[in-house]
């Protein structure tokens, strides 16, 4: 049996836009992080802890990690769409990556709010 080609999942634009927005968030955070790192008096644990003790930096860093995970999700999914053809294997890989990234997000939050 010839399988018909099925296209038309309406999330192409949303994901494309999200990837661009998350890229901007990551670029801005990199600047903020660079300024913090360069203006730090010394590289001691206390200084680093000081940087991340403020609510803004916690929030910004968490936003950065969320952006990174969304960005990575779209990128990795695109690679699977190009190279992994069997639907079952692709679904399994999508699930593994998605669950892994959700786990990372939780882990990032735990580390940040522990400081």
């Amino acid at each position: 049996m010839v399988k018909p080609v099925i296209v038309g999942a309406h999330y192409g634009f949303r994901d494309w836009l999200l990837q661009r927005i998350t890229a901007v968030v990551m670029a801005l955070y990199t600047l903020v992080f660079a300024v913090c790192a360069l203006t730090m008096p010394d590289g001691s644990f206390e200084s680093w802890r000081g940087v991340f003790s403020g609510g803004f930096m916690k929030f910004a860093t968490f936003l950065f990690f969320m952006s990174l995970f969304f960005h990575a999700w779209i990128g990795v999914r695109d690679i699977f769409m190009d190279y992994i053809k069997p639907t079952g294997i692709r679904l399994a890989l999508h699930s593994v990556v998605a669950l892994l990234l959700i786990g990372y997000a939780g882990w990032a939050a735990q580390i940040l709010w522990r400081l």
Partner: protein, 237 residues
């Protein structure tokens, strides 16, 4: 005056009726003074070995028949100056499409994608007595879009099209899609955008610009694709 020039070729040969698998044939041909383009040399070559098969028609870059992979880069044989090519000149069929024979490829998939974007004006208003008019500014928008000759150089140089030729429209089809999206006389803008709002059909394009690099007409499908994305953005926000 007669100055004999000899050109060395390495040509992809495959005749499914005779050959188990494709092979590269080393062959040379003497050119006449009047032979300027690669197509002239191929025509001489065919006179020498008439089993060689390739498509050609207008011999001046209008019909798009003689697209092939020339020294690793897609192009039209009729527009490629033979004297500027490093030798041996390696000729292969357009990558990613099934080979029918030698450098002739099956373009069914390519045209299927082209047809999928409805490459014609959709306007449900009663046709005016003479023609549907546009302002010169509106007409200007179609420049760089309508000139495509569908030679498939761009789509067959695009890795996204190689991996998903059945789902990704490809640069040629998307250029044509924008040609109708940009047309002020067309009334199907929203349907056209819906048709491309898919992770495969439009968004397999990652703007690597191989299409721009090879287009023998100097067109810019990547820019057109960017404008389609821009239209989707304006529609969404």
């Amino acid at each position: 005056m007669s100055s004999k020039r000899t050109v060395q070729f390495k040509i992809y040969r495959y005749d499914p009726d005779k050959d188990d698998k494709p092979y590269m044939q080393d062959i040379s041909v003497d050119l006449e003074e009047s032979d300027k383009k690669l197509l002239d040399a191929l025509v001489r070559l065919k006179a020498k070995d008439d089993t060689l098969s390739f498509r050609r028609s207008c011999r001046e870059g209008v019909c798009g028949s003689d697209a092939m992979n020339i020294n690793g880069k897609n192009g039209l044989a009729c527009l490629t100056a033979i004297d500027e090519l490093p030798q041996p000149v390696t000729i292969r069929p357009l990558p990613g499409l099934p080979v029918i024979r030698d450098v002739i490829v099956d373009m069914t998939q390519f045209f299927k994608q082209y047809h999928s974007i409805k490459p014609y004006l959709i306007n449900n208003d009663p046709a005016p007595e003479r023609e549907r008019l546009q302002t010169p500014e509106d007409r200007e928008e179609l420049n760089g879009l309508y000139e495509c000759i569908l030679c498939a150089c761009c789509s067959t140089s695009c890795p996204s099209f190689w991996w998903n030729p059945d789902k990704f429209v490809g640069p040629a089809g998307l250029l044509a899609a924008y040609r109708f999206l940009a047309d002020t006389r067309d009334q199907a803008t929203s349907e056209r955008l819906d048709n491309l709002e898919d992770p495969y059909r439009l968004f397999r394009c990652h703007s690597i610009m191989n299409c721009v690099d090879v287009c023998p007409k100097g067109l810019n499908p990547t820019k057109a694709i960017g404008k389609i994305k821009d239209m989707m953005l304006r529609r969404a926000v």
